[in-house]
């Protein structure tokens, strides 16, 4: 039997070179967004490769949420291009519902459906979007809840769960659809400090399982240890992006350093 590696063309070794050659899963090019006359995104360029965890940091109002929301068309970019998994996200003819099946999103305020159990929160899209049967969607949903460590809370309502548990159910709701990528908009900002760890642990295990993630967050410690790349935004522009060692290191640009040291307190 041949090993997979022998199919690859031989070339100079080096993992970094190989990662570079991989087509990005998400490719944001020259994206701008205006709300009326207010330009909140100015020609943004960001790539996310398969399996990468990219962190998006920056002061409040710098356009981080807007950029995430342009990626799944909750917000319409004014100009530019966003390629995701072979298709142009900004194409007006694109089937947005089909796109959203392949990009999960997790919100700061969880946004679980309060009138449904944790299990039903997860099965709803499986049934209505993917058209799976009741028993099949239940099996998939239980597996997703298992992955976030909450299978035992399947029949609980959101109001009966802690914030951290609610956010993990929200993650399971996204995971169950087996998206190629997940977007996180400040997933731990609404949590009591003692509950943050459980959500970050879930995100870490997703990363280990190979999930591609674009994360807006103020958890600088987590960014430092878990991110492949950190993008620093301010005033609607990307000021600097690079590996955590660069962004959090002494050679980062002055504006980046000022923001990071202020966040670290």
């Amino acid at each position: 039997m041949q090993s997979a590696a022998s199919f690859l063309p031989s070339r100079a070794p080096g993992a970094a070179a190989e990662i570079q050659s991989v087509e990005p899963l998400l490719r944001i090019r020259d994206v701008s967004k205006k709300f009326g006359s207010l330009e909140v995104l100015k020609s943004i360029n960001v790539d996310v490769s398969p399996g990468e965890l990219v962190f998006l940091i920056g002061p409040s109002g710098s356009g981080k949420s807007t950029l995430l929301r342009c990626c799944n068309r909750l917000e319409e970019a004014t100009s530019g291009s966003i390629r995701f998994d072979g298709s142009e996200v900004l194409d007006p003819k694109l089937d947005v519902n089909a796109l959203r099946r392949r990009i999960g999103m997790v919100f700061q305020s969880f946004n679980l459906y309060p009138h449904m159990t944790a299990l039903s929160n997860v099965t709803l899209a499986l049934r209505k979007v993917l058209g799976k049967s009741g028993p099949e969607s239940k099996t998939i949903a239980m597996a997703a809840l298992e992955r976030v460590g909450l299978a035992h809370k399947a029949s609980a309502y959101p109001a009966e769960l802690s914030g951290g548990q609610q956010q993990r159910v929200a993650i399971a709701r996204g995971l169950a659809l087996e998206p190629k990528m997940m977007l996180f908009d400040e997933p731990t900002s609404a949590l009591d400090p003692e509950l943050v760890g459980s959500v970050l642990a879930t995100m870490r295990s997703m990363r280990e399982a190979g999930m591609t993630m674009l994360v807006v967050s103020h958890e600088m410690r987590f960014a430092r240890e878990a991110a492949d790349r950190v993008v620093f935004m301010e005033g609607g522009v990307v000021v600097e992006q690079g590996p955590p060692a660069q962004i959090f290191g002494p050679d980062a640009q002055p504006r980046t350093r000022a923001f990071v040291s202020n966040e670290d307190r």
């Binding site: 799944n72 909750l74 519902n97 089909a98 959203r100 099946r101 990009i103 999960g104 999103m105 919100f107 305020s109 946004n111 679980l112 459906y113 309060p114 009138h115 709803l124 899209a125 209505k128 979007v129 929200a170 709701r173 996204g174 659809l177």
Partner: protein, 221 residues
């Protein structure tokens, strides 16, 4: 004093009128069974319509709702029952009542349900849409259930009003409870049958009214 008692609480007459009044009650319940679901459905349509993208459509709907709210339901019912035949449309009394109540109730339920829909945070829409649900699926499975629950006291209050209004059906000679009671009154020259009908209305609606104030107190806390 005794004459008053004989005139309003004559148990003998009440027991004789009871079968007729119970027949009327059946019709009253039948009317409720038709007009309440229809009204709620109409209310949902009005609420959805008032979120329409087209400003012209929203204006037109708002005007129609205002008209229905300003028009006494009795006038509407008589217009439909005795007016439509001139346009070549003969309606049964129940059909006339159903249409009149649909138009009137849709306007009132519509206001209540619209407030309910507005009370559901935008994040609910966004979360559902971000999993690939279409707007209509999001509305039916995520937003509407929460909307109805959020305005449940108002919804029930409005329904109590609808039940009371079903007595209007007597004017198109639909033999609901008040019609039957009034018939018994004119046959016996005694008011006791009407008092009996009043008692039945009260027994039916009082628990519902209690539930509403419970719910209102609970949500005020």
């Amino acid at each position: 004093m005794d004459i008053l008692f004989q005139q309003f609480f004559n148990l003998d007459i009440m027991s004789k009128a009871l079968p007729l009044i119970l027949e009327g009650l059946k019709t009253t319940l039948l009317i409720c069974l038709v007009v309440i679901p229809l009204g709620i459905l109409g209310g949902i349509l009005v609420a959805v319509g008032s979120m329409a993208k087209s400003a012209v459509a929203r204006r037109a709907l708002a005007l129609a709702v205002d008209l229905m709210r300003a028009l006494p339901p009795l006038v509407l019912l008589i217009l439909i029952y005795s007016g439509l035949p001139f346009l070549g449309l003969r309606l049964s009394p129940l059909a006339a009542v159903s249409i009149a109540f649909f138009l009137n109730n849709a306007a009132y339920y519509g206001e209540v349900i619209r407030a309910g829909i507005e009370s559901v945070p935008n994040g609910q829409w966004e979360a559902a849409r971000s999993t690939g649900l279409r707007a209509d699926q999001t509305f039916v499975w995520v937003v509407l259930p929460q909307a109805l629950r959020n305005v449940l006291p108002d919804l029930i209050s409005n329904t109590v009003e609808v039940v009371k209004l079903t007595s209007l059906a007597s004017v198109v000679s639909l033999q609901e409870m008040l019609y039957s009671a009034d018939m018994a009154r004119s046959l016996t020259f005694n008011n006791s049958p009407v008092v009996l009908a009043a008692i039945i209305y009260f027994v039916m609606l009082w628990p519902v009214v209690r539930i509403v104030s419970r719910l209102e107190n609970a949500s005020a806390k």
